[in-house]
């Protein structure tokens, strides 16, 4: 076999092995998206009921709470950045990081000090490489976050919100995560989570058609409106963070699936062009062989014809 042909054959084999891996990863990611989406859907009733409860408090009383009161002159803000633990997801993590950078820039332009909290190894690595300080980071659960994980993330954030700004607390809490729009579209978004304006919540829930109960109902609070709100707000923040983590996980799997699909397609293209080249090399080899045989035969024939004459 010609050396050229052998080289092509070997490369085709390598690329097909890679293709098998990327195809497998694509399938795994596809099945995980479904699972992650199911989790998002499963967390919805709880989030809806919580929103309804917060709305009820907002409508029935005007209680003040540190998590709902706008600071007169905000000085410090916390940004929670949700990235992934693993790569191989195309631009997923870098897009989220870019959105985080943009939001941080806007906050700094408003004259705020920014505390960064990070979820996911990719984000941690990004900040560590640039030697930028992070307040706290979590890794190890981005692929399938549980409610306990969300609680763990929420705890120091809520604590920082409730603390006085002079003692290292923050006035605002922003969250950057990748919203799962559809299988094909995931958009990184930066949202302000706290302070929560109760009027906004009330408005949002009035617009949703699922809300059928009268939001103006006069509630009896047990033990009191303040205490209910006290217990309600942290749960609300946790459930929002849980939702963000779940959406980010679904988006990450979707991004992985897309990246692996294009890797598989590229491998197919490569195999096709290498097969063409290998075929051409084989043809060239055969042609050369024929030419050599024909040339040899005619040389022989010429020699015998010459001696007979």
């Amino acid at each position: 076999m010609g050396s050229q042909l052998r080289v092509y054959k070997r490369r085709i084999k390598t690329v097909s092995a890679t293709k098998k891996i990327t195809r497998a990863m694509e399938m795994i990611a596809a099945s995980r998206i479904v699972k992650a989406q199911r989790k998002v859907a499963a967390s919805k009733p709880y989030a809806d009921e919580l929103t309804a409860a917060v709305t009820a408090v907002a409508n029935s009383s005007n209680v003040k709470h540190p998590l709902t009161t706008e600071a007169e002159r905000p000085r410090r803000a916390a940004v929670l950045l949700v990235t992934s633990d693993r790569g191989l997801a195309g631009g997923y993590s870098s897009n989220a990081l870019k959105a985080g950078e943009q939001l941080t820039g806007e906050l700094v332009a408003r004259g705020l000090e920014v505390d960064t909290y990070i979820v996911g190894r990719k984000g941690v690595a990004y900040y560590a490489f640039r030697e930028r300080p992070t307040t706290k980071s979590w890794t190890g659960f981005t692929d399938s976050p549980t409610y306990a994980d969300a609680k763990e993330v929420a705890a120091p954030l809520i604590e920082a919100m409730e603390r006085d700004t002079d003692e290292g607390g923050v006035d605002e809490l922003h969250i950057v995560y990748t919203e799962f729009v559809s299988m094909m579209t995931q958009t990184p978004v930066g949202r302000r989570l706290l302070p929560l304006s109760l009027a906004e919540v009330a408005e949002a829930s009035e617009q949703s058609p699922a809300k059928s109960t009268d939001p103006k109902a006069l509630y009896e609070f047990e033990p009191s409106a303040e205490e209910v709100l006290d217990a309600l707000m942290p749960r609300y923040v946790e459930s929002r963070i849980y939702n963000a983590l779940l959406q980010a996980a679904a988006s990450k799997h979707a991004a992985t699936r897309r990246a692996m699909k294009s890797a598989t397609d590229n491998a197919e293209d490569l195999i096709r062009s290498f097969t063409r080249l290998a075929n051409a090399a084989r043809q060239a080899e055969i042609t050369q062989e024929i030419t050599e045989i024909v040339g040899g035969a005619s040389a022989l024939a010429d020699a015998t014809a010459g001696s007979e004459r």
Binding site: A42, Y46, E227
Partner: protein, 129 residues
Amino acid sequence: MAELHVELVAADRQVWSGKASLVVARITSGDIGIMPGHQPLLGVLQEGPVTIRTTGETGEGTVVAAVHGGFISYTDGKLSLLAEIAELSEEIDVERAERALEQARSEADAAAERRADVRLRAAAAAAGR
């Protein structure tokens, strides 16, 4: 007879939903029983068993669930029980809860002890009916 539409939801799933005639839950000021036509209420749940007396399609019966913190809210015939963690009594593994209780006692982990205790009480309430 009027009915309550009950939704028992945990943070990551819907645990139970259906019609009921009476729901007894423990809130900060003590046990509270809610029947159809109650005044709109929003309360903070304590860890404890919740008893739901069912009616309607599910038939007459009692559903007991262990809830670990959360809220109870009632408006207009619709009662929602929100809990971070909630389990129906038949989902509770009694042996496991007993083991967890022992362990929590030996480690003096008050929160874990309470959790295991609530599970056992809910399971016992369901078994004793």
